[in-house]
């Protein structure tokens, strides 16, 4: 199969020494196996994420993503824009759709972009990496690349919010999306059929500003994974990954629990199943080591 190329928007958390740098590592390993080339949008900027609304008005927020999209159209011609971060995907796709459907907004955006010599025409699609996997490859093709099926690994597929709502993936239901479970199954692992917290919010950015309220929700997300026999939680979202993994000690103290549940990305599972090693799969980025998954990586 010929190499597939995409215009890539990594986002702030995927940078070196940032909170989701381990996500980026595993995405690179996965893309290497799938012969996918990610062409980074030159000098991309932050999308404004979920809480940009307080300091930035409508056009200020949209213009941030419009700059990335305009540079992408100019530098990565004809390539769909792909994001790995849920919030990046959401903000960028929202910008595309809002500008495309509102002529006045598009004129305003281009008037601002003209200040720095850019122009946006909304020519390319904005997609999440899991859409690329599902739509451009499909589960069967993704399965063909598996070298080490993750036999017996029980995975709680934690989809969370923004890789599900408001846009949805592959036309699936918002209440019970199946794509993550299907990816898990494709890698030879066992998805939890009755993981009731799969689309529960973790608090998102409010884990910083309202830690008690967020950690109460995170506690339920982890507890349900344990209750249904999970070895590990997998997610497509960097904020979900961080929130569910890094506060487990604090939650244990508050609620008298003994949580020690590893939380990885779908791409971590895929890298390992595709035969990549510990470090290439980003497993060294785990604060709670994914011990059972490490065994497959060491095989």
């Amino acid at each position: 199969m010929a190499k597939k190329q995409y215009s890539f928007y990594p986002g702030c958390s995927s940078e070196k020494n940032a909170s989701a740098s381990n996500y980026m590592t595993s995405v690179n390993a996965m893309c290497d196996v799938l012969d996918v080339q990610l062409n980074e949008i030159p000098d991309w900027n932050c999308c404004g994420a979920s809480v940009g609304y307080a300091g930035g008005g409508e056009l200020e927020r949209l213009i941030l993503s419009a700059r990335n999209l305009a540079i992408s159209e100019q530098e990565n011609k004809g390539q769909d824009v792909v994001a790995t971060c849920a919030a990046c995907w959401l903000a960028t796709r929202e910008t595309k759709e809002r500008l495309e459907s509102d002529n006045q907004l598009m004129r305003d955006a281009n008037q601002a972009l003209a200040e720095i010599g850019l122009k946006y025409e909304a020519k390319q699609k904005v997609r999440h990496m899991v859409e690329v996997l599902i739509e451009d490859f499909g589960y069967d093709k993704l399965g063909e690349k598996v070298k080490k099926p993750l036999d017996g690994l029980k995975v709680a597929g934690y989809v969370g919010c923004q890789t599900n709502r408001p846009f949805g993936i592959d036309g699936e239901s918002y209440e019970n999306p199946m794509y993550l479970d299907k990816l898990v199954e494709t890698m030879g692992a066992e998805p939890l059929e009755k993981y009731d917290k799969k689309v529960q919010c973790c608090g998102g950015a409010l884990a910083f500003s309202e830690p008690e309220k967020s950690q109460a929700m995170i506690k339920d997300i982890i507890e349900s994974a344990y209750d249904h026999g999970a070895d590990i939680i997998a997610t497509p979202c960097p904020v979900c990954q961080m929130n569910v993994e890094i506060y487990q000690d604090q939650i244990n103290k508050t609620y008298g629990k003994k949580f020690n549940m590893p939380v990885v990305y779908y791409s971590t599972l895929m890298s390992v199943a595709y035969g990549k090693g510990h470090r290439e799969s980003g497993l060294d980025g785990q604060i709670i080591p994914a011990t059972k998954l490490e065994k497959f990586a060491a095989k």
């Binding site: 702030c12 958390s13 940078e15 020494n17 940032a18 909170s19 989701a20 740098s21 381990n22 000098d43 991309w44 900027n45 932050c46 404004g48 994420a49 979920s50 809480v51 940009g52 609304y53 307080a54 300091g55 930035g56 008005g57 409508e58 056009l59 200020e60 213009i63 941030l64 700059r67 305003d108 008037q111 601002a112 972009l113 200040e115 720095i116 919010c161 923004q162 709502r165 408001p166 949805g168 918002y174 529960q200 919010c201 608090g203 998102g204 950015a205 409010l206 910083f208 500003s209 309202e210 309220k213 967020s214 890094i246 506060y247 000690d249 604090q250 060294d284 980025g285 785990q286 604060i287």
Partner: protein, 221 residues
């Protein structure tokens, strides 16, 4: 009936900008019109049919003094001061549950963000609301260099309620931070070596122009 007439003097006294007083004068007794004209996606407010699905779907629903459908009704009832000074909108986690479930397809998440922004712009948002503070820090952080600096953002966050509380929070968060450093998902070097965008100046120019356009649009109403 309408609450803008009685506390009008009070609002005027607290008024932090001419813009705010101008808004009160211009939309006297027409808060719904004010929201329709000035709040992102505000033109949808009138479409709410008060079913309450949004309130039941919100993960932090119990933390809202007024859930979204109540906010919508308060806007229609002209409760300007109560709505704009409320901390309710600031409880939004951006989970988008309300959007996908609303039978009338109101973009509720965006309206809540829009109301929060409008309240902030008028200086009416509750000053010490933690998410408001964090969100303002975040905007400042990302617009300075074009990219988020997680290290400086984290430190400012810990100290947002003052120095003494900050030390306590920092100590509580220390193990989490050290874990992040150990796994190379954070670096203290971020304090000094964060690069950001090469086109920092472009971003400043772009945002300045966008704000100009937006202000002009608001004045037109």
């Amino acid at each position: 009936m309408n609450d803008t007439s009685k506390p009008l003097d009070a609002i005027r006294k607290m008024s932090m900008s001419d813009g705010k007083t101008a808004m009160v004068e211009r939309y006297r007794n027409h808060f719904l019109k004010e929201v329709t004209d000035n709040v992102e996606e505000g033109e949808w407010v009138n479409m709410c049919m008060q079913c309450g699905v949004c309130a039941g779907s919100c993960p932090l629903g119990n933390a809202w003094a007024h859930p979204p459908q109540e906010i919508f009704m308060m806007i229609r009832a002209g409760k300007r001061q109560e709505v704009l000074t409320s901390d309710s909108m600031w409880m939004c986690t951006s989970c988008y549950n309300c959007i996908v479930r609303c039978p009338r397809k109101l973009p509720i998440t965006h309206i809540m963000h829009g109301l929060a922004r409008y309240a902030e712009r008028l200086g009416l948002a509750p000053k010490n609301q933690p998410t408001r503070k964090f969100a303002m820090m975040f905007w400042d952080n990302i617009t300075k260099t074009g990219r988020a600096n997680e290290v400086t953002l984290g430190i400012r966050l810990y100290f947002m309620h003052g120095f003494i509380k900050g030390i306590k929070t920092a100590l509580k968060m220390l193990p989490v931070g050290l874990n992040m450093i150990k796994t190379k998902r954070m670096s203290p070097l971020g304090l000094v070596a964060h690069q950001g965008c090469k086109g920092k100046n472009d971003i400043t120019k772009l945002l300045k122009k966008a704000r100009e356009i937006e202000e002009a649009r608001m004045k037109k109403h």
